[in-house]
């Protein structure tokens, strides 16, 4: 007589309530949300600093542009990270797979943005070094 015990088969057995990988993802989401909120505060402070520079400095306009530029550069990755965290948390509440798919899209946008900024940073550094060498000769 053949007996089948579904608990011995990991595929046909009922899965645990929340798979561990989703638990890990949700724990990350809390930190991501915290980091993005801190990021938003710093972006706001950069904008505020820019306005302050306009009021107190003689060359305030230049500083304002620089501060606003840094604020704008920082805003997008912070927004993507916040949307990623929110998507994961929404999926936790609703179980809607679309939320998770959108969240992963936001994560991709976040790392792509960071990558492109790093490439630009490297190019600027390289141009700086080459200019320095050219001037030294």
């Amino acid at each position: 007589m053949e007996t089948t015990d579904s608990s011995l088969n990991p595929i046909s057995a009922p899965a645990a309530e929340t798979p561990l990988l989703l638990v890990e993802l949700r724990q990350s989401a809390r930190w991501m949300k915290f980091l993005s909120i801190v990021g938003f505060i710093f972006v706001g402070l950069a904008a505020l600093g820019g306005l302050l520079m306009l009021a107190i400095s003689r060359f305030g306009f230049i500083f304002t542009i620089v501060f606003f530029l840094f604020g704008l550069l920082g805003y997008f990755p912070v927004m993507f990270l916040f949307q990623y965290a929110r998507g994961v948390q929404n999926h936790q509440q609703t179980g809607d797979m679309d939320e998770l798919e959108n969240a992963f899209h936001k994560q991709k946008a976040f790392w792509k943005y960071i990558g492109v900024i790093m490439i630009i940073y490297l190019v600027v550094i390289l141009i700086g070094i080459l200019t320095y060498i050219a001037k030294a000769q």
């Binding site: 608990s7 011995l8 088969n9 990991p10 595929i11 057995a13 899965a15 645990a16 798979p19 561990l20 990988l21 989703l22 890990e24 993802l25 724990q27 990350s28 930190w31 991501m32 915290f34 980091l35 801190v38 797979m97 998770l100 798919e101 992963f104 899209h105 994560q107 991709k108 790392w111 792509k112 960071i114 990558g115 790093m118 490297l122």
Partner: protein, 150 residues
Amino acid sequence: MEEIIDELALGGVQSDVLSAKAVATLTSTAPWIKFSAIMGYVVSVGGLVLNVSTGSAYRSMGYNFGSGASPNMIFSVIVCGIAIVTSTYLLLYALKLEQFGKSNIQRDLYEAFKNQRIYYTITGVLCIIYLAVLTLGLIGGGVAALMMAH
């Protein structure tokens, strides 16, 4: 048996927790994460080398920082060490995602998310420490300014 329970907790051997679209997005993100992690290594080690060489240049010009390593040097070594640790977890996250893209085994995705969680936990704790130091510095600076004014 323990292994089977473990796989059950993960949600099965093969990937069925996430949709195919979600998996495709995740695996296509891996190269960008990998690039950022490698850049993390380059920038942290490069920064340390630059700091050490600048310190040596100042010493050769006759500037004396006292005996032993300067506080600046110690600080940059600590910063570089932390950056290497965080970059390693980020790299592991990317590598496990790539591995999951090839194998479609749930355990790889679990390992990837675990590394991601560790990465964000370290970053979050560092952020809290930074904010605490910043707040203490601002309070200290404010108190010092008040004392100097009186």
